[in-house]
Amino acid sequence: MWKKSGARTLSKSSCNLKQMAHVSKSEAQNRAVSPSEAAAEERAIVRRAQAGDVSAYEELVRRHQRRVFAILGGILRRNEDLEDVAQQVFIKVYLSLKRFDLRSAFGTWLYKIAVNECRDYLRKKRARHLVYEADLSEEQVWQLEGVESEQGPPISAERRVELQQFLNRLLDELSEEERAMLVLKEVEGYSVEEIGSMLDMNVNTVKVKLFRARGRLMEFYRRRLRAASGRRKERKPQT
């Protein structure tokens, strides 16, 4: 499943080559065993870690670090503090590992801690941007329309950064859950089943929430585009 979604993102952008190359050895090993065997194996590693085996905890970190980074990236959308937050997640997990009762999968428990850590981080940082009606240039609107219709010309690196910032601001308008689901699906290349297990949600719930999140994102997007077009029209008669 990971391989398939990884292959899809690989074709999308060259930066994802790094992502594919980094599929860890333990993940590759996981593909060879059945899910129940993998779960039993992981439970054994968790028990060892609970007993104080640091190398077992290292194995757990290595197995899950990629997904934790993906979740944090999806919610925070800011890379500068991402590694610090991830470190904090793995420290919290280690310190409360003895209280983990193995009733759920270790990953589910870990990802919940990661989501909560993001919430704490955002609360402390008050990082939710106020939406400001920054004017989009005519070229930016034109390029966004090109992206949307898949017929636009290639975007320069400079323009791409501006459009990324614009899109990140739109994502900030969504809830943390919506943002995480959209980014995990479209940017990180996870399947709805994987997202369900990461966010501890039923697959059909993920599908419905994802579809609604797309609608909300596009609603904000169109509103901003309309506002930018309206301002341009207002300015034109004066010039």
Binding site: T9, K12, S13, C15, N16, K18, Q19, H22, V54, E58, V61, R62, Q65, R66, F69, A70, L72, G73, G74, N79, L82, E83, A86, Q87, F90, I91, Y94, L95, L144, V147, E148, E150, R160, L163, Q164, L167, N168, L182, V183, E186, V187, E188, G189, V192, N204, V206, K207, V208, L210, F211, R212, R214, G215, L217, M218, E219, Y221
Partner: protein, 152 residues
Amino acid sequence: MTCSKYEHLWEDYLDGRTDAATRAELDAHLKSCAQCREAVEAARASSLLLRSLLEPAPEPGLGFWTRVQADLRETAAAQNDFWGSLEKLAWRLSFAATLALALMVGYLASSGAGTNNTALNGQTEIRALVPDPAPNLASKDEVLLSLAGSEW
């Protein structure tokens, strides 16, 4: 608003993961429902925008585990410091408590002896105030007369 009956099917439809019968049903529905058509088009556009413009989160660096390990060591050291200072405090408190207990026992012992003396002193004072009845008095009347005759 889209038709709730189909809402959970659109993700698979957009991913091309629906079977032929469901796909045909959804295609037919899209022809007749403008709201769902618009929502599916918006969803498709959102997918294009996100995939084309955003980049995945950075990979955990090679030294990530080493940094986690260093943080864990620091946390453990801080915790040890905390428990160590708590242990020292507990020793000091127990020493102080023992000392206080010893002092209290000492005080109680000494104040208990003082109370007995006072009682004795009290008895002496009463004896001094009330003169002993005259010896060898035969009856109550004689006793009363002797008391009435004595000076208080």
